[in-house]
Amino acid sequence: AQSVTQPDIHITVSEGASLELRCNYSYGATPYLFWYVQSPGQGLQLLLKYFSGDTLVQGIKGFEAEFKRSQSSFNLRKPSVHWSDAAEYFCAVGALDISNFGNEKLTFGTGTRLTIIP
């Protein structure tokens, strides 16, 4: 069974500092990996996705993530955070099964809440 671990429940960083949010996954095949962000009271917005190819993927809002197969990790990074980045971040793993539409479920981590201090 697939699973996702986000070991940090809550992270606090200063505005302008760098950020790394950790994500480890367990998946039996080649994973499709995602990072989503959720602002308070809102739905989830896709930050970036990894399907194949270059293991360093760029997303929106200046975020990037690196897929490391040997470590089963997909950590999210940003070189300099802004106060507007305060939100909850979710890592997810899933599949793209072109033979079976029903196999597009995602498994989510429990999230990391990011607080930004001035």
């Binding site: 739905g43 989830l44 029903g102 479920k105």
Partner: protein, 110 residues
């Protein structure tokens, strides 16, 4: 851009009521999903549908049912609401990944 619309942002119902949560997507996606989100538990899949009238149970289907009569609409039904179903409910749709989410419905059962 994909638009996933959930009919209510906030909903308050009473124990024992039958509750309907509606979700509509405008991108002709085959797949639609219902999740509930609780603090510390992340998102848990309740049901999903990969075609009209097709549905499959997710991880926590007990106490819920779903309906998909049209491709664009996916309804979540709480047959007899209970207080432990107070939660944030999120709908999503997809075609060949990724999933796109609505803004959520915060449901309170009193």
């Amino acid at each position: 851009d994909v638009k996933v619309t959930q009919s209510s942002r906030y909903l308050v119902k009473r124990t024992g009521e039958k509750v309907f949560l509606e979700c509509v997507q405008d991108m002709d996606h085959e797949n639609m999903f219902w999740y509930r989100q609780d603090p510390g538990l992340g998102l848990r899949l309740i049901y999903f549908s990969y075609d009209v009238k097709m549905k499959e149970k997710g991880d926590i289907p007990e106490g819920y049912s779903v309906s998909r009569e049209k491709k664009e609409r996916f309804s979540l039904i709480l047959e007899s609401a209970s207080t432990n179903q107070t939660s944030m409910y999120l709908c999503a749709s997809s075609s060949r990944q990724p999933q796109h989410f609505g803004d959520g419905t915060r449901l309170s059962i009193l």
